[in-house]
Amino acid sequence: MGDASATAVATEPAIICRGVTKVFESDDSVVHALRGIDFEARPGEMLLLVGPSGCGKTTLLSVVAGILDQTAGEIRVYGQDVHSMKPAQKTAFRLRNIGFVFQQFNLVPSLTAAENVAVPLLLRGVKRAAAVQRGRELLTQVGLADKTEVSPLHLSGGQQQRVAIARAMAPEPRLIVCDEPTASLDGETGQHVMELLKSTAVAADRCVVVVTHDSRVFRFGDRIAEMLDGRITSIRNGAEHG
């Protein structure tokens, strides 16, 4: 990121949510997934969204990332009202500004690790050779220098998630959203993945939002927003986590 971005980062929150609601309606049921969410996330911090299954964490993450529209309320990501964007603008916004880490890694098994990392760059029009080279560099950064040409099928869960983190960082996004990044991993590997996220993904000009219900990783959050029944019930500093 350039200086201009860094300056912008310093002056505005990464995410602002005001009165965000999300209602899923079907023929025979209405589900209030989010019931008036208010919070802010700042660049340079890792915010954890925690709570029991079904409390609305992932829905909130999807809405913040612009892949789901909220029913009401306002969401601004680095000052941009994502909700008011047209679908094509929203897609372009995600491509420029948001990195994704998924619970199931979602790597393409037929691509090598380096090629997987290169995918967001290819989407941005970077030449293949340059994109894959950048992929190799990022894999080195996450400790997988010797696995760049290996298929994800031959990597452990922890290694796959590290590839996914490298992929999320590849386009140098200003926001990385992680959906249960440790849920498919054993405890120790989960800790390593969170350490990696904390040490490499979080940057002065980048915010990382992690949805998790794994209490063993709460200590990695700079702040922890607890959710219950579609509401944020408390936001506290990570240091306060006992």
Partner: protein, 376 residues
Amino acid sequence: MIYVAWRMLTGDRAKYLSLVIGLAFSVLLMTQQGSIFTGIMMRTFAMVTDVSAARIWVMDPGVQYPDDLKPMKDSDLSRVRDVPGVDWAVPLFKSNGRARTADGNFQTVFVFGLDSSTLLGGPREFVSGKLTDLWTPDSVLVDEAGARRLNVKKGDILELNDRRAYVAGICKATPTFTSFPIIYTTYTRAVKYVPGDRRVLTFVLCSPKDGLSDAELSARISKATGLAAITKDQFIERTLRYYAKNTGIVINFGMTTLLGFVVGLAISMQTLNAFVLDNIRHFGTLKAMGATNFTIAKMVLFQAVVVGLLGYGVGVGATALFGNTAAKNSPQLAFKFTPELMLIAFCAMTLLVAIASVLSIRRVVKLEPAIVFRGS
């Protein structure tokens, strides 16, 4: 992203091969059935194509197809020759005969009588002997498949309608619709071999003088003689029309061919659709990361086109191989794989790829990227 699409397609070799083989099988079904249908239909007018020298066929107006034998008067030959613009006109006799095989059985045959002096309308390719051997007394030429059936070779004596016939050579001829052996001899000899009717002139073959079109001369002959004078193409068309209208072959075999197409289409669509479904999560991930619908559509289309082309190539190759192998082992097989059929199969495959792509693209475009946040 085309590279990613290519790798997604070919990454799982087994799936990739099954996709290509599935499509190739569809093309094989379409083209193989189509080739047999074409082969059978082409046999109905084999005589017209084999007698390549004749540009115009003159016959009784009631004749509807080459085996529909309605002889004319001998004097009709002179009347045709007298029409201004006729360069040459020769008689052609055609009738059914009965040949006795070496094992004592009888076999119905087609007897062709060629103009005794010019031998116009005779076969052009020979396994043994030559056309002018017909000038030897009692000689006949037998087509290759017929010779096998009658169990005769050059130099053998054949009993044709209780008369002696000397097999002067074995020639090549397109098998007829009924697959009867074909026996060529001279016009005068043929008339003796197959006596009976007072009228024996079956066809008059002729050609226009330079500068006169076939259509023009045909019209002149028809007007002057009251006979049907038609070009080679018109005779073929007339034959096909007859078979289409009066026999069940088109509807019956056409249904089988159509079924081949439909089954082929269904297999291909299902195969392509299943492939996209297999990759739906990856497409969802790409959409979440910021891939536009257009990018995804290009990827899906590229994958469909690649497997479509490969499937087409393999399928067409397999059909050609089948045709070659089968024709060698079974000359009776009516199999004609024409460029037109290849084009039809290509169009069908293109259509199929287009439909499958549109369905798959619709599915991907409608795909909610939020699915990637669902755990399983």
